[in-house]
């Protein structure tokens, strides 16, 4: 500053001298130009010096007053800066920890629920498998009676029942046929009996005639009269016997009439109820078949669905690796905060070492800054490499 002032003065006096000289001595243009150049040089060097002074105020020990003012200000600024950094670091640390615990909690919860879901899905799968096994074993194994087999069994039974009814009817009708033939036979027996009765009547008549003839013959026909009488009593006996036979056969006919009634009842069963039962049975059969088909289809669908659920759960579990990545991110964030913390620590030392020169302290700060900057850069580079390999590589279940 002082030197520049002297120089200014020197340059000023020199130029005045030169101007006076010029005016006075009327010297040539070349001299005038040299004089102007000198003046310009002086001004420029002065300006240069001023600028240099402002730029390297820390290194210049010449201006004591100015440097004192700057130290105080720097202390204040650095104190404020340190305060600010400290607060920010605190908040960031707190938030980081909060995020970390939140993510950990959430991931633990989700992971547990996924595992539970996986277990449930496995159980479901087992149930479906046993269901499929059961539904497919219906036809092969009759040990487990199902609705389907029951209905089909009932259907067969009903068909057999119908067959029995019809056969009974047929046999009854056949029986009836024979009975009718028998009745016809009885009728012809009646005819025969009538003939026998006629014979008896004629015999009776003949015996009567013989008795009359015997009476007319007198004593000589006495023996013949006895014979005629015997023949007559025989004819009466045969008529009585005939009547007995007739009565017996009439009784038999009455019994046959009763037989016909009961055979009729046996033969004619009303089919309406059977018809209804059969209708219901086939309805039920259709229904059961439909239900079975539906059940089978649903079970098959479920069987397809269950592994899908498993896959989805596995994918979910795999996706939970984001927690790992997040933790890494949080960790590097923590490292970054640590770096800032280190700077802050250096700033604290400003206050503590008041006696040290600001310049030296600033130098320390600068070095520290550079060191941390490089460290952080290295760490960042390593991290981005790691992340790329993470996204490219296969992710395994943990």
């Amino acid at each position: 500053m002082l030197a520049s002032k002297n120089m200014l003065w020197l340059a000023g006096s020199l130029s005045v001298l030169l101007i006076v000289n010029q005016l006075w001595l009327q010297s040539d243009l070349l001299f005038y130009l040299a004089q102007l150049y000198l003046l310009g040089f002086m001004t420029f060097s002065l300006y240069q010096q001023e600028k240099e002074k402002i730029n390297s105020s820390a290194s210049s020990n010449n201006n004591k007053q100015m440097s004192d003012v700057d130290d105080v200000l720097i202390h204040e600024v650095i104190f404020e800066l340190q305060q600010f950094l400290h607060q920010e670091i605190d908040i960031i640390e707190k938030e980081l920890n909060r995020t970390k615990s939140l993510v950990e909690e959430a991931v633990t919860g989700i992971s547990e629920s996924f595992k539970y879901l996986q277990g449930l899905s496995g159980e479901q799968q087992n149930m479906i498998l046993s269901l499929i096994k059961n539904s497919s074993s219906l036809d092969e194994n009759d040990e487990n009676p199902t609705l389907e087999s029951f209905v089909s069994h009932a259907n067969t039974t009903l068909e057999g029942f119908v067959k029995v009814i019809i056969n009974t009817s047929k046999q009854s009708l056949q029986t009836l046929c024979y009975t009718d033939e028998m009745v016809t036979q009885f009728d012809s027996i009646f005819n025969l009996l009538a003939q026998v009765e006629g014979l008896a009547t004629q015999t009776n008549l003949l015996a009567l005639n013989a008795a009359i003839e015997a009476a007319r013959a007198g004593e000589a026909g006495r023996g013949f009269a006895v014979v005629a009488n015997e023949v007559r009593s025989l004819s009466v006996g045969s008529t009585e016997l005939n009547q007995d036979i007739r009565n017996e056969i009439s009784n038999a006919k009455e019994i046959i009439a009763k037989l016909r009634d009961s055979v009729e009842q046996m033969a004619s069963a009303d089919m309406t109820s059977t018809l209804e039962a059969k209708d219901k049975m086939s309805e039920m059969m259709t229904h059961v078949e439909k239900v079975n088909k539906h059940t089978f289809a649903s079970v098959e669908e479920l069987a397809i669905l269950a592994p899908k659920i498993n896959d989805a759960v596995a994918l979910g579990v795999r996706s939970l690796q984001f927690e790992d990545l997040t933790r890494q991110s949080l960790h590097s964030l923590h490292e970054n905060v640590q770096s800032i913390q280190a700077i802050s620590d250096v700033l604290i030392s400003f206050e503590q070492n008041d006696q040290k020169l600001v310049h030296q302290q600033l130098m320390v700060l600068k070095d520290k800054c550079q060191e941390i900057y490089h460290q952080t850069k290295q760490a960042e580079k390593a991290r981005s490499v790691k992340q790329i390999s993470m996204t490219e590589g296969e992710i395994d279940l943990f």
Binding site: K163, I165, S169, K170, Q174, L275, D279
Partner: protein, 102 residues
């Protein structure tokens, strides 16, 4: 007559028609309708188009007719049964034993 029959010797054919109720009371008439027919390889037709009710004895009678037909090596066709009658015939599985034409 609830049962009417119509024999045509030239065509080797006998047509038996049964009216509304086909039950036990008809068994004599029904049997009489075909029993005299003892020609071999005869074609029997049982027309049930007018029949509305049938009980088990009717089925028995048809079976006896079938036996008769088989004995004389003939054929038996059931003609135009109504829905109800056809249902009964189906339950009795008559379609396996004889031809049913609707």
């Amino acid at each position: 007559m609830s049962v009417s029959s119509n024999i045509s010797q030239e065509d080797n054919k006998i047509n038996i028609v049964v009216n509304e109720r086909f039950d036990f009371s008809l068994h004599q008439q029904f049997r009489d309708a075909y029993s005299q027919c003892t020609t071999k390889k005869f074609n029997y037709a049982l027309d049930l188009s007018q029949t509305e009710y049938m009980d088990s004895s009717a089925l028995g009678m048809i079976l006896l007719l079938k036996d008769h037909v088989d004995m004389y090596e003939g054929t038996l066709v059931i003609l135009n049964p109504s829905d109800t009658v056809n249902k009964i015939l189906t339950i009795a599985q008559f379609h396996r034993l004889m031809t049913i034409e609707r």
